[in-house]
Amino acid sequence: MKRISLLVISFMLISCLISGIALAEKVSIITWETATATAIKALIPEFEKETGINVSMEMLPESVLREKVVLDLASGTGAYDIFLVGNWVLAEYAEAGFLQPLDDLIANNASDYSSIDDFAATYLDALRYKGSLYALPYYGHVGVLMYRKDWFEEKGIKVPQTTEELLETAKAFYDPPNRYGVAIRAKRGEDNPIITTSFTWIYGGEWLNEENYPTVNEPEFIEGVKYVRDLLKYAPPDVSRYDWVEVENSFTSGKVAMIMDASDFIGRIENPESSKIAGKIGYALIPEGPFAPREERYASHLFTAGMGINADSSNIDAAWKFLQWMSSTKIQLRTAMEGHNTGITSVTVLESEEFMNAYPGIDVMLKALEYSNPNYMPHISCYTELCDIIGTHISGVVAGTEEPEKAMESANTEMLKVLEKTGNIKK
């Protein structure tokens, strides 16, 4: 009897040990549901075979991911070892201590997969907060002007180089209800500032000053807002509800002459299966504003999604290994070709012959990336709410329900309250 119970106990202990070992090398990751993610998911078995680390990948639509991630992070359960963090909300997560700083890991724990020197510098900068790097860029885009080459040729119009010319060009193509001159995001809330405040920026406007006080009621910013309103007079009538999806659709359905949005559109709009206008598109840098030349102030429309490691993760080493693998040059090259993915962050891939030959406009995208500034909007823990305030007021101005001066004055006051409440300025 005693011997049997001894056997049973030792069996239980051994199985605990074994399962303990098996549990230790498991990484869970949560990210957006995109072509890139799907492409990577398909390649995961290769990684698992090479390293013996078990990876489980969960994908969610963009709109719900952040909610789920923050709730998990705030409750400290460590359910996800790796998660997607947009560069503009990175400050919020970093301040809260949700993210594991990566500089140490890069210096002392780089694996064979590491491609740290290959990431575009602008994207890396965008994922730094107070000097530390918190995520590796997994996806990135900058703003480019995409236009109907055929329409421009037909009318003999040249590609606009300044915001003045842009306005004139948009007017020249404005022929409702068949054709509209231009379309950019103007939907209320957080969606539009990435582009609308690119415009206010090239007009010399800033969100905040050095002491984090809001400055959106200053003349330069308001000039920029007025420009956006005037420009969008030549846009489809419902432009004030346009998110990037509607901008892309208005272009590919052949309604609009020019759009300014993310460089990762290229992969989709040049795909004849999903775009009526593939092959008829020209690419150029977004026109420069009156405040400074393009090299100094470019309408950046910059965004990069980084993959960060949960500070509460119990598998930091394994997670770090996977992170390096999934953002490595090799993997990026494969997803670029297989997934119509032009949101690549690896310089090698971006400048490769294959990539440049597969998609037009890459040279423009690279130039835009060079000129882009990752600080045209502030890296701050209350970014989301500030963005919503600015975006909603600008959307109101475009829709005609608000006057620019009053709108931005209200925005400024509201921003001040938020900044105080979140401890970003002393009351």
Binding site: V70, G97, R188, R241, K255, G396, T401
Partner: protein
Amino acid sequence: MNHLSEKRIFYVMFLPAIIVLVIITLFPFIYAVFVSLTDMQISRPQLGSPFIGLRNYLDLFTGYRFWNSFKVTFVFSFFALLFELLIGFGLAYLLKDEFRGRQIVIALLIAPIVIPPIVSGLTWRFMYDANIGFINYLIGFFGVNAQAWLGNPSLALPAIIITDIWQWTPFVMLVILSGIQAIPIEPFEAARIDGASNWQILKYIMLPMLKSVVLVVLLLRTIELFRTFDTIYIMTEGGPGVVTEAMSIHSYLQGFQFFNTGKASAFAMIMLVTIIFICQLYVKYGGGNPDAE
């Protein structure tokens, strides 16, 4: 078995259900009240969650966006409810008597209720599209210009109201119809014998006897309209500007986009109190005991 131990058994069997109820509803509610008095911001744990008393409530009551959301919710709920009641009652009245194909008509009319609000909202959003939408195509036949329905600040809220009316009028109709069918036949027969007209029957017999049914529908629909989120969010996300930003949308933004947890809890409390107040009004002025008449 004596009376006392029977009672004990009764309580003991009841206990698990009570415990679950307390954990799932009472405890979170009390916690939410508590959180509404703090400045909890779950994505900014570094700020702590200092107790700030009624500051969240004060901030809300002095914010224009809060009152705007109040207004939007009321306008939306009022007009949706008004039309749903009128049309719903009208349909129920038409369908109360048997006719050929009645069951089929009822079945078809009920269809909108079973569609998830998100799906309905998304479909209507495409129908309202300024360029490729079905609605603009239809009104084109009547010589009306294409409208930017969801992009026009004056048309966005009416458009959403129409969507809600389409989806929920059948529900109102269904409840009122069953109410009509539950009325005993004798008063009607008596009235007919006395020579009452259809209109008199409707006004003096049917409507009074439907009072409690209408009250139920009113309560249910009001509560649901107040909380409507899916449809509005998927169609306009509260825009253009803030013209369709209902209370549900704004509190969602506060709680799950900006993570101002304390403020969002305060918002939820305000919504709760408002809704209880409205329901009490209904019961007081609209209800009463039909048997007492």
